[in-house]
C-alpha cells in the first residue's frame, strides 16, 4: 500500500428544497427575523457605472417557470474589479460595493429581478480578457447540486469573440444561452432554461 494522501473529501451537496427562503430570504417566506437580510444590495450607494435591471425566469424541462428558485450573483464593479482580496486591484473598489446578490423568483410568476450595475471586463488566465459577465449560482427544490452559469450582455459581441469561457462552448448556437437581451435603455431579459431545447450552458467551475 502506498502512503495515504490524507485529503478530506468535499461534503456532498443536497437540494436547497422548497423552503430555502426561510434560511436565505426569510422575508419572502413570510416573516421578519434577521435585522438585515443579506444580498439585497449588490452595488451600494457609491458604485460607478451603468445601473441596470435584469429580469428573467428559470424554466424547467417542460417550459414551466420554476417558482421556488433562489439565485446568487457575483460580479466585478464597472472597472472589472472584484471586491475580494484575491483581486490584486481590490482596494480600488468603491466603498459599499459587494458584488454579491441574492434574488428569488416570484412565487406566482416565477420572475426574478436583479438590480445592479453592468460589470466591466475582467482579467482572464494567461493575459486573456473576460468579457463583462455576472456569475450566477442557482439552487432550488429538484436541483441536487447548485448550477453555475454566467450572464453576458448581447451588445458586447466583439468582446465575446475573444472571451475564453465562451470559446469553450463548441456548439455555437448554445453560446447565445448566456446572453442577456437588451429590452430598453438600462434593462435586460435573461431566462435560464434548465433542460431541453435551448438549455442554458452550465459550468463545472
Amino acid at each position: 500500500m502506498p502512503q495515504n494522501l490524507n485529503y478530506l473529501r468535499e461534503t456532498a451537496s443536497q437540494t436547497a428544497g422548497p423552503y430555502v427562503h426561510i434560511g436565505l430570504a426569510p422575508g419572502a417566506a413570510g416573516f421578519e427575523l434577521f435585522e438585515k437580510e443579506l444580498g439585497q444590495d449588490i452595488v451600494g450607494p457609491n458604485a460607478k457605472g451603468e445601473r441596470i435591471t435584469i429580469t428573467g425566469r428559470v424554466l424547467d424541462g417542460t417550459g414551466s417557470p420554476v417558482r421556488d428558485v433562489l439565485l446568487e450573483t457575483w460580479q466585478a464593479n464597472a472597472a472589472g474589479i472584484y471586491a475580494h482580496d484575491e483581486d490584486p486591484r481590490h482596494s480600488e473598489v468603491e466603498a459599499g460595493f459587494s458584488g454579491w446578490g441574492r434574488v428569488i423568483s416570484d412565487f406566482n410568476s416565477g420572475e426574478f429581478v436583479i438590480n445592479t450595475i453592468k460589470p466591466g471586463a475582467t482579467p482572464g488566465r494567461n493575459g486573456a480578457t473576460q468579457a463583462p459577465h455576472i456569475n450566477l449560482w442557482i439552487v432550488a427544490r429538484g436541483i441536487n447540486v447548485g448550477l453555475n452559469t454566467r450572464i453576458y450582455f448581447e451588445e458586447d459581441s466583439d468582446a465575446h469573440a475573444s472571451d475564453p469561457t465562451i470559446n469553450l462552448i463548441e456548439q455555437l448556437h448554445r453560446r447565445d444561452t448566456l446572453l442577456a437581451k437588451k429590452t430598453g435603455e438600462n434593462t435586460y431579459q435573461f431566462d435560464v432554461v434548465l433542460q431541453g431545447e435551448n438549455e442554458t450552458v452550465f459550468f463545472d467551475v
Binding site: E10, A12, Q14, A16, A29, E35, L38, T122, I143
Partner: protein, 245 residues
C-alpha cells in the same frame, strides 16, 4: 515551487462522483429540473476564486440561537440541541470567518413558510433559521431544537428524515455549497429519496451528525457534531499563471 497560503489560488476539481447527479429518477422533482447537456468545465479565473465576504456587523446577537431568535412568549418547543463543528477545506485547513446559514422545520416537522401546509402546528416561538460566522479555527455552533420528520410528495408515503439545511460560502464563489445535516441513528435516512440521490455511501455518512455528549450542556441540551468540508485550493504552484501578474 512556492508554498502558498491555502486560502488563495485555484481549486481542486470537484469530485462529481460523490455529489448527487443532476438527474435522479427517485427524486421526482429533479426529473424536469436537471440539465441534460454536459457541464462545460472551465479552469478557474478571478471570477471563481473570489467570492463575497461577510462581517460580524452583518449579523445580529441571537442569529445563531434558534431557541431564542424568534421567541415571543418563551423558548421554542422541542428537544434542545447544540449543533457545532468546523468548516474545513479538503486540505484539512480550517476556513475562518465564513458565513454558515441554516434553516429547518420545528420539532413537529412544520416549516414556518407560507408554502408549508403540513398539519403539524406552527410553533409561535420558533422561526427556524439561523446564521453565524466561523471563528479563526473554522469553528461554528448553533443552538436549536431537533427538527421533526415530515411527509413530502414524492412517492405516496415519503418522509424526510429529521434534517437541518446548511448553506456555506467559504472563501470563493467556487466553494459555494448547500447541503443537509441528518442525525445519527435516524431510520428514515436509509429510506429517503433525497439522501439516496448521493451515489457514494461515504458521502452520505459525511452528512450524518453523530451525537456528541461531550459538547452538550448537562441538564440542558444534547449536542451533535457536523463538520463541513469545502473544496481545497492548490497549495503549491510551480509558476503563477493566473490573472496577468
Amino acid at each position: 515551487m512556492t508554498k502558498k497560503n491555502t486560502h488563495t489560488g485555484e481549486f481542486y476539481q470537484r469530485d462529481r462522483y460523490m455529489h448527487p447527479p443532476a438527474y435522479a429518477e427517485i427524486y421526482k422533482t429533479s426529473v424536469p429540473r436537471s440539465p441534460k447537456q454536459a457541464l462545460i468545465s472551465i479552469e478557474n479565473s478571478l471570477s471563481e476564486i473570489t467570492g463575497p465576504t461577510f462581517g460580524h456587523n452583518d449579523l445580529g446577537e441571537l442569529d445563531n440561537d434558534l431557541i431564542k431568535n424568534y421567541a415571543q412568549t418563551g423558548d421554542a418547543i422541542g428537544e434542545r440541541i447544540i449543533v457545532h463543528g468546523r468548516v474545513l477545506d479538503e486540505n484539512g485547513r480550517p476556513v475562518p470567518n465564513t458565513l454558515v446559514e441554516i434553516w429547518q422545520a420545528n420539532a413537529g416537522g412544520r416549516y414556518r413558510h407560507k408554502k408549508d401546509m403540513y398539519l403539524a402546528p406552527i410553533d409561535p416561538n420558533f422561526g427556524g433559521c439561523g446564521r453565524t460566522m466561523t471563528d479563526e479555527d473554522g469553528y461554528y455552533f448553533f443552538r436549536t431544537v431537533k427538527p421533526g420528520a415530515y411527509p413530502w410528495r414524492n412517492w405516496v408515503n415519503s418522509w424526510r428524515p429529521a434534517h437541518i439545511h446548511v448553506s456555506v460560502f467559504g472563501t470563493a464563489f467556487a466553494q459555494r455549497l448547500i447541503t443537509q445535516l441528518y442525525f445519527e441513528g435516524d431510520p428514515l435516512i436509509k429510506k429517503c429519496a433525497i439522501v439516496n440521490t448521493i451515489p457514494d455511501q461515504d458521502a452520505i455518512d459525511g452528512l450524518i451528525a453523530p451525537l456528541d455528549m461531550n459538547a452538550g450542556v448537562p441538564l440542558d441540551c444534547l449536542a451533535y457534531k457536523f463538520d463541513i468540508v469545502l473544496r481545497g485550493r492548490r497549495s503549491t504552484l510551480f509558476e503563477n499563471r493566473l490573472e496577468g501578474n
